[in-house]
């Protein structure tokens, strides 16, 4: 990613800055200047909004073939997360066993390193998520091999 492009999106990545549409009373992430649901009326009616950073896992997956730059995590969990304000985003869920993440679990945002251009290149920081307020052991029991119908 080019340095100027990352720099332009700093607040979106660091602070979960998205948009609020005054016409439809809906939230959007990342930031947009136009809401397709409201059409051209929404132009000029979109406000910057900082998301609270809390949400719910919609669907997780465990990545075993790590993408470049994520080799040290492997295997790791990626998930679609529905923020409490409505938008859905894709993010890595860290600080837990990747198979511990289940649909419906609560998550909150944390500030982490997303990657780097190279050993001498710029470092990319932004938002990832961690589990919080879940009884992980109970959730894991549901997926116990004894409960799976073959």
């Amino acid at each position: 990613m080019s340095v100027p492009r990352f720099w332009r999106e700093l607040d979106t990545r660091y602070n979960l800055i998205g948009s609020y549409c005054k016409i439809t009373d809906t939230y959007h992430y990342p930031r947009r200047s136009f809401n397709p649901e409201a059409g051209r009326e929404s132009i000029g009616s979109m406000e910057d909004y900082q998301f609270k950073g809390t949400g719910t896992v919609v669907t997780p997956t465990v990545v075993h073939q790590a993408q470049t730059g994520y080799e040290m995590f492997g295997p790791y969990c990626m998930a679609i997360i529905e923020l409490d304000e409505g938008p859905r985003i894709t993010s890595q869920i860290v600080d837990c066993r990747p198979d511990a993440v289940k649909s419906g679990m609560r998550v909150k945002s944390v500030f982490r390193k997303l990657g780097e251009d190279s050993e001498s290149g710029i470092l990319h920081y932004g938002t990832k998520f961690i589990l919080f307020g879940n009884d992980t052991d109970d959730e894991l029991d549901e997926d116990n091999i004894d409960n799976v119908e073959l």
Binding site: N15, V110, K113, L123
Partner: protein, 348 residues
Amino acid sequence: MSGIVSYGAYIPSHKIETGEIASVWGADGSAWAKNLNVYSKSVPGPDEDVITIAVEATRLAMKRAKLGGINIGAIYTGSESHPYAVKPTSTIVAEAIGATPNLTAADFEFACKAGTAAIQTCLGIVGNNQVENGIAIGVDTSQGAPGDALEYSASAGGGTVIIGNKNVIATINHTTSYTTDTPDFWRREGQKYPRHGGRFTGKPAFFKHVMMCGKMIMDMAGSKPEDYDYVVTHQPNGKFPIRAAKSLGFTEEQYKTGLLTPRIGNTYSGAVFLGLAAILDIAKPGDRILAVAYGSGAGSDGFDLTVTDEIAKMDRSETVEDMISRMEIINYATYAKYRGKLNMGDSK
């Protein structure tokens, strides 16, 4: 009077036990743990560094004080493991808490006491009303070379204090420093791991500076060890701070709350910040605290603090003890992977 308006802390959620490290090198883990009084140390994840730790600790401090970025006029980050050699950690923290652009920012380096030097700088500019609030951060993700004694203790973590004049939870009554040119520990430009003078890091370095600074700050305050409820010093291992505190006349009851190294290792610039945070997590109005930092090279910064009634109004959840209790044990293989000790050849 100027003092601490808020504070925050962050400790990574992974830890490795001393015995696990010793087993890799064929050493006696029990002996190492007992000799250093370090039984486990925190380990940052592959996506954690000084910047991410500084941001998390500072966000917690901002949340506790209910402050917005507009209230912050200065950010100084003290560390010896800044991710960039040239480009400040402090500007990234400023952006991440919404404090840009109307503030001054800089990174400090003075081995393990760079963060407390940042506190003194903030006291200066807050005291003469140049800024409303200043943020001082002490944080490190330092490493010891594989097999070196430092590998058993060098860990990761950090803390933030917000210095201001309003809604102060702990006044800083006095501060002083004791500084000399003592080459006990260093890392040359471009080198990955630091080097140290072995036993030379003890008597002429840590003990001389901490003891002198501790005596100076008590002379300045006209106080005695029994006047304090808590004491926290730099803690490169679990033994030095106990010996220093006892030599100054303090008891276990006074030093045990701020002594975290036996469980999380040496967090370098973060050590006094985390110890102080653990104390502030439970402190009551009227409690008095003595803090003495130490940085190799060498110097000590001392602080005499009194906790105010304001602390009772603060939400002090997410304590240092909460963070320590969440830490999960990893093995040496995972530790080596997380800390970049694996040679990936051309595959990366």
